[in-house]
Amino acid sequence: MIRFEQVYKRYATGRDALAGVSFEIGAGELAFLTGHSGAGKSSILKLIALIERPTRGQVFVNDRNTAGVGRRAIPQFRRQVGVVFQDHKLLADRPIADNVALPLIIAGVPRREIDKRVRAALDQVGLLGREKHRPLELSTGEQQRVGIARAVVAKPPLLIADEPTGNLDPDLALEIMQLFKRFNEVGVTVVIATHDVHLIDRIGARRIILGEGRVTAESPPGAAP
């Protein structure tokens, strides 16, 4: 599903975020990217969502080399990847339902179908009945769940999340993680970047540990090349 081959990333500021990262995540896997802040977690997710391009090396997503995805093809590419952000990135001036519906509107799904799928997605994250509320009327945990509903509403085969529990207390964080696990159980490949090691222990899934722009360890060890 995702394959990194000797990937280097140097930002315009001169900072080397990734220095030869290689790993592979199979379809249907649930994997955590961990490591200290600045270890390269976010950079990896940005490369997967084509927000950034590798300086060297190759990134494959859905068995497709991202180097071959041109500027004009990026929107279509991103529709195959659901992204959850630490700061939710919701549109504050629109109701929850419109926020969740955005990927479907972009994909040109008919209105009636949109309503149905938005309600289904909100049901999955436990927010059914809150469609008319604005994001700021919801708690941080609830906003994060709206973000997740938006990421999964178009049923992408791949879901990536950058520190999705960064602003949440431990109980809420566990709840969110279990939500991701449920999506993984129905076949979605899920990659989550987090520094919350205790939380990963409680979920029990594959870990790719990063340090200084490299993969320093994996657990269980040897699960990937």
Partner: protein, 306 residues
């Protein structure tokens, strides 16, 4: 792509962008007012020129030729020429003013009665006033008729005062070009005004555009509401411009008719014709669209999620 959903989405965006404009009535009105002034200015000039053209057209149609006979021509000869001219197809009427008649009229109107009595003989020639037929009332037709009459025996000079009409028409031609030039420049101004408004709008909604792009929205998708905003600005500005031109016409109609009356003319100020008005409206909408397209395309392209 589902076409019904596609059109439904467009309709929704159209209404949505109107809603956003309504939410900022003052700012939107200012933009539309600037467009309105830019569109109304060339339109007003156009109306002015149209009326000037019509008014001068009325004069040139009523142009008479004054035919002055030489000293050797008798009043009988004048009548004979008149009969000959009346047979021509390009002549409507011929009036004979004999030298004696002319002298009497001159004495009555000029107040030089005593001075004229001192003259030993009548200095005025026998004169014919020829009105061309309607078909020959063009500058070319009158010129041809003038040539034909000048060739007759006993005719001294034929006076056709079309020079000033020609000059006026040449002047109007220049002014028409000026209006066209002004329209082009002000049209570019409309585009810049809309472009600038849309640019600020795009920058204000940067976060929203970023999110759209993150969930797979193309540049075209993010641009669509701005294009509709541009169309609304153009339409609002165009309608305001037509109202301005209408008001100007109403305000000027009374004084113009009074002035015309003083010249003994039944001239009537005509307002903007429908086709020009609709054309200006369409042009305003088109420029609004184009201005927003240029601005939105450029600025949306530069917004990338990070």
């Amino acid at each position: 792509m589902n076409w019904r959903a596609y059109f439904a989405r467009h309709a929704q965006t159209l209404v949505g962008s109107l809603g956003r404009i309504v939410h900022q009535p003052v700012a939107a009105f200012m933009t539309m007012a600037v467009i309105a002034v830019a569109v109304a200015l060339p339109l007003c000039l156009h109306v002015l020129l149209q009326n000037a053209g019509e008014a001068s057209g009325g004069w040139s149609n009523a142009l008479d030729l004054s035919v002055y006979l030489d000293k050797g021509a008798t009043p009988a000869r004048a009548q004979a020429i008149a009969v000959e001219l009346r047979r021509r197809e390009d002549v409507a009427t011929v009036r004979v003013i004999t030298a004696a008649e002319a002298l009497r009229q001159f004495r009555d109107y000029s107040g030089f009665g005593a001075a004229l009595d001192a003259l030993s003989e009548n200095p005025l020639p026998n004169t014919l006033v020829v009105t061309p037929a309607l078909a020959a009332s063009t500058p070319e037709g009158s010129e041809a008729l003038k040539g034909a009459i000048a060739a007759l025996a006993n005719v001294e000079t034929v006076q056709l005062d079309t020079d000033w009409v020609k000059r006026l028409n040449a002047l109007l031609d220049i002014l028409r070009r000026v209006v066209l030039l002004a329209a082009v420049l002000l049209g570019a101004g409309v585009m810049l005004v809309v472009g600038n408004t849309i640019r600020l709008d795009v920058l204000n909604r940067r976060a929203e555009i970023e999110v759209m792009k993150l969930v797979g929205g193309s540049d075209g998708f993010a641009r669509r509401p701005f294009l509709y905003s541009g169309v609304w600005y153009g339409l609002g500005g165009g309608i305001l411009a037509l109202i301005l031109v209408g008001l100007a016409t109403v305000l000027l109609a009374g004084p113009a008719e009074r002035l015309a009356l003083l010249y003994g003319s039944s001239f009537h100020l005509t307002g903007l014709d429908w086709s020009t008005g609709l054309g200006a409206l369409a042009g305003s909408v088109g420029l609004g669209w184009l201005g927003s397209w240029l601005a939105a395309t450029r600025h949306i392209r530069s917004i990338e999620p990070s």
